[in-house]
């Protein structure tokens, strides 16, 4: 399985913090979004991470990976 996590405004927009997907359906970060976001287009400026490292839409995703999507960060 692939775990897909959403944070901040994306979590609220999608109404969920986490979705689990069969790894056979997901090969890249972009596919993880398509499968997990229920048809919502990827909002501009969305950041992605695979296993808690920043990633790109074409970053490969494998069984057991954690993929995260979130808006620009605003700490400090």
């Amino acid at each position: 399985m692939i775990t897909v996590r959403f944070f901040a405004s994306l979590r609220e927009q999608l109404g969920t913090a986490e979705r689990r997907l069969p790894a056979s359906d997901v090969h890249t970060v972009a596919e993880a979004w398509q499968q997990a976001a229920g048809g919502l287009p990827l909002p501009d400026n969305t950041l992605a991470a695979v296993n808690q490292e920043y990633a790109d839409p074409d970053t490969p995703v494998r069984e057991g990976d954690e993929v995260a999507f979130f808006p620009p960060v605003t700490g400090g």
Binding site: F7, P72, T74, G75
Partner: protein, 147 residues
């Protein structure tokens, strides 16, 4: 060592700075400069009065990136020690949001490395602010203010 600290309740940065300085590797006398930055929650933003704020983070990734940013500062400048602390959860105006501190032999690397810690944290560490205005409406903060 040099682990970042995340606090889910108010913290006073100054005793932390003093405690960290007492425990510096090599003991007293090794550093000639320290640079300290603290960020405090304002009661206004984008022209509106702000009553409180929630700081969300990505447990694990946040700590990893703070650690990495400190490692990068140590690689780029000859610093003796770095420290970062940051709030998470519910926060109110006047409370400290973050602390970044650097100790080094000379002032230039202390100032530059401390600035690096702050700017890199703001651009890379996964934290998100949601503010509640005085009239009760809530909104996500969508961008950093220019440094």
């Amino acid at each position: 060592m040099d682990n970042p600290a995340l606090f889910d309740r108010p913290f006073d940065p100054w005793p932390l700075v003093a405690a960290w300085e007492r425990a510096l590797p090599g003991g007293a006398g090794r550093h000639g400069a320290s640079a300290v930055f603290t960020g405090t929650m304002r009661d206004f933003n984008e022209g509106d009065d702000v009553a409180r704020m929630t700081l969300e983070h990505y447990p694990g990734m946040t700590e990893n990136y703070l650690r990495r940013i400190m490692d990068e500062a140590r690689e780029r400048w000859p610093v003796q020690s770095c420290y970062i602390a940051h709030r998470v959860g519910e926060i109110r105006p006047g409370e400290t949001i973050m602390l970044a501190a650097v100790w080094s032999a000379h002032r230039r690397e202390a100032f530059e490395a401390c600035r690096y810690l702050v700017e890199e944290l703001k651009h890379r560490a996964p934290f998100w602010k949601k503010e509640t205005l005085a009239d009760g409406t809530a909104r996500w903060v969508t961008r950093n203010t220019p440094g």
